[in-house]
């Protein structure tokens, strides 16, 4: 007979593993990715492949050099690569995408200890680094549905919204309708254009209990309200730009957002407020990435203030530190 194995309780476990969660996130991103192919053409596929491939490669190399367990099988590098691709314009040169992957995986994720240890969202940080480093390439938008893909540089809906009619006539574009914005027939990054596809993915994750809707709802809700109060078109503000992508897939990132529901609501509110401030008062048309990154930085403090209440716990003794 075998030697009996002695281990601490519990002796049973459920079936949800880290890779299960990551796989579900990938599934949830597929509608938006499919929409990207539909609107921006087949270059979406190699660009995504470059992002995912280089993320996996950097993750593998990092773990090897740091002499740590290999973590490719947890699929988190695939998720990072996919979300990064969603944050890029379809015309971006492949080598820039590789730089983005390097920033995301090596600098933001692995240097801080790998999965779950990073304080900033890898894809968001990579997007910002690329945006600051290659502003022209990162804002080279094309019109959807292959209307002279490589020739025309299109403006994102948030830029268009700010233009006068004369200017719009001059560049020959018009402000997209709500329906276009909702379906994704507009300029922008791969994954951010179709609010509908992102909503489907987000609701799928919520239904599978992978994410909580606390942060997305407070993010989108506060942006809507503030825009409305400020006299902007609130529906346009939430449908245009990266709001849905950011709200459902990045303000719900486990590692870089608070754990408790209270914390998640605070996080979402912060994102909504900062996005509004940047869009309304700043010179920059888009504010989602910056708002999420700034709130990532605040997350440890939000966590401290939004801890759960323990049943029967006495008031914490005053910390003499």
């Amino acid at each position: 007979m075998n030697k009996l194995i002695v281990s601490p309780s519990p002796h049973d476990e459920n079936y949800v593993k880290t890779s299960t969660i990551m796989l579900n996130v990938i599934i949830a991103l597929l509608p938006a990715w499919g929409a990207a192919i539909y609107f921006f053409g087949l270059r979406v596929i190699p660009l995504t492949a470059v992002c995912i491939g280089s993320c996996i490669f950097f993750e593998y190399i990092c773990r090897l050099l740091m002499k740590r367990d290999n973590t490719i099988t947890d699929l988190s590098a695939v998720v990072t690569g996919l979300i990064l691709a969603m944050n890029l314009p379809v015309t971006l040169p492949y080598w820039m995408a590789v730089i983005g992957s390097f920033v995301a995986i090596v600098i933001v994720k692995q240097l801080f200890g790998g999965l779950g240890q990073n304080f900033a969202n890898p894809a968001i940080t990579a997007r910002i680094v690329l945006m600051v480093s290659f502003p022209a390439a990162m804002t080279h938008w094309v019109l959807p549905l292959g209307e002279k893909v490589d020739a025309v540089s299109a403006a994102t809906p948030l830029v268009l919204k700010g233009m006068t009619d004369d200017k719009l006539n001059e560049i020959g574009q018009s402000v997209p309708s709500y329906l276009d914005l909702f379906l994704g027939k507009t300029g922008g990054c791969l994954g951010e254009v179709s609010a509908l596809a992102l909503l489907i993915g987000g609701l799928y994750l919520a239904a599978r209990k992978i994410i909580s809707l606390a942060a997305p709802v407070s993010f989108i809700g506060s942006l809507f309200l503030l825009s409305w109060i400020a006299g902007e078109d609130p529906l346009y503000q939430i449908l245009a730009g990266g709001v849905f992508l950011g709200a459902f897939f990045m303000s719900t990132d486990y590692a870089t957002t608070p754990i408790t529901t209270k914390g998640k609501i605070v996080f979402g509110l912060g994102c909504g407020i900062i996005t509004f401030v940047i869009r309304h008062f700043g010179s920059y048309p888009e504010g989602v990435s910056f708002s999420i990154l700034l709130m990532n930085v605040l997350t440890p403090y939000i966590e401290q203030l939004t801890r759960t209440k323990v049943l029967g716990a006495k008031e914490a003794e005053k910390n003499e530190g």
């Binding site: 009996l4 002695v6 969660i21 973590t71 754990i259 408790t260 049943l311």
Partner: protein, 425 residues
């Protein structure tokens, strides 16, 4: 009232309809002198002594303990040192049975005249919490504070185990009589029999039995683990919160296991102390899962063979349930007072622990509202101040956090280790 967190487990109550089978008296029993919480007993017998059924064979002067009795008649063949599953070292009395099962003269109904003599009788019965924790019953029933509610814990919230359920189905009268006895003896006004919703038959029966007695409430607990945890069952049946550092008695409540109360009633009628118990034998290495009534001291191996277990395939043997039970190192260990189940499992995958992804599942399931992920982090850097603020000392080791962790982190275990870092006053 805020709903407490919990997890949905597969109940796996395969033996719920298996009536208790009496396991024949084995050729030899080995009875450890420490089977309850508290001080180990000293043997009252020596090698060569004849013992009879119900005879006291171990006791101690320590108040926080319970005496040990023999469940067989026969001859003491050895007294050895024994390390139990908790790691406590104590003496163990080995008795070769003679098969006659002659009952000792000591076995006679106790004379109870007042509360004091009642508590004394409870101590002499050797009773302890039969649900698994093994708290000496005479201590529990004799608190210093005023008690207004008696809660009978019939949650049996762990998967597989049906030992308490069979008690409820087979001896419901003993339970009701036991409740009335405790109410009278201890002067408690109300009793609440709390049963988890996955036992509708029992709920139906007891509701009918207590129909005309408005001092006994039958409470249906939600079917979410861990309903049987003391603080959880108190909260869910009375709405009271047991504060940090306090006992249930400080909230005016005593919680007692349903099988314990039935045993106490029978003891007061017959005087036969705690020498046998019912346990559920199950697990995927067991061919015929059963509820078995065994003499305390019977070896696990014999019970497993009795239930057609494939002994060679067993990788893990769990005394108790899969969530809070102890995995035991030796198949020849004996049945003790707290053995409510024996699960023989034929597989064990040692999965690698990976980084915490901060998904928050552990926080969402903790019935007490602890934050295991944060405790894990604070433990890693030995931040004692942080561990105190995170209230790790309140963790009752229900195992829900480890169960749901996608990164396979041993959070419940870490909580127990973290507790040891905090200096006790």
């Amino acid at each position: 009232m805020k709903k407490l967190n919990g997890i949905k487990l597969k109940h796996r109550k395969n033996t719920e309809n298996s009536s208790t089978v009496v396991f024949p008296v084995p050729g030899k029993v080995r009875i450890p002198m420490s089977m309850t919480m508290g001080a180990p007993c000293q043997p009252l017998v020596k090698v060569g002594d004849e013992v009879k059924v119900g005879q006291k064979i171990g006791d101690t002067d320590a108040a926080f303990s319970a005496p040990v009795h023999s469940g067989v008649s026969g001859k003491v063949t050895a007294i050895t040192d024994y390390r139990n599953a908790m790691g406590v070292v104590c003496k163990m009395v080995e008795i070769e049975t003679d098969g006659a099962q002659t009952v000792s003269d000591e076995v006679k109904p106790p004379v109870v005249t007042d509360k004091e003599s009642f508590i004394k009788a409870v101590r002499e019965s050797g009773a302890c919490g039969l649900g698994g924790a093994g708290f000496p019953t005479h201590i529990k029933l004799n608190p210093k504070t005023e008690i207004d509610t008696l809660i009978i814990n019939a949650a049996e919230c762990e998967p597989y185990i049906t030992a308490d359920y069979r008690e409820m189905m087979e001896n419901p009268e003993d339970i009701i009589n036991g409740i009335n006895m405790l109410k009278t003896q201890l002067g408690i006004k109300r009793a609440k029999l709390a049963i988890e919703a996955n036992k509708p038959e029992a709920i139906k029966n007891f509701t009918a039995m207590a129909e005309n007695d408005d001092t006994i409430d039958i409470i249906t607990l939600p079917s979410s683990y861990p309903q049987g945890a003391e603080k959880v069952i108190i909260y869910n049946s009375t709405g009271r919160i047991v504060n940090e550092g306090e006992l249930p008695a400080d909230s005016g409540v005593i919680v007692i296991n349903v099988s314990t109360i039935a045993f106490l009633y029978r003891y007061m009628q017959t005087g036969m102390p705690l020498v046998t118990r019912r346990l559920t034998i199950d697990g995927n290495a067991v061919g015929e899962p059963k509820n078995v009534q065994a003499v305390i001291g019977t070896s696990f191996r014999e019970l497993l063979e009795f239930c057609k277990a494939d002994i060679d395939s067993i990788k893990k043997l769990i005394a108790g349930g899969p969530m809070m039970g102890m995995s035991v190192p030796d198949i020849d260990m004996p049945v003790v007072k707290t053995s409510n189940a024996l699960l023989a499992i034929n597989h064990y995958d040692e999965r690698r622990t990976s980084n915490c992804i901060r998904c928050g599942r552990c926080v969402r399931v903790c019935p007490l509202g602890l934050m295991p992920a944060d405790i894990d982090r604070a433990y890693k850097i030995r931040n004692i101040e942080e561990l105190k603020q995170l209230k790790v000392l309140l963790c009752m080791n229900c195992g829900s956090c480890t169960y749901v962790c996608p990164a396979n982190r041993k959070l419940a275990e870490t909580n127990q280790l973290a507790k040891s870092l905090i200096p006790r006053k």
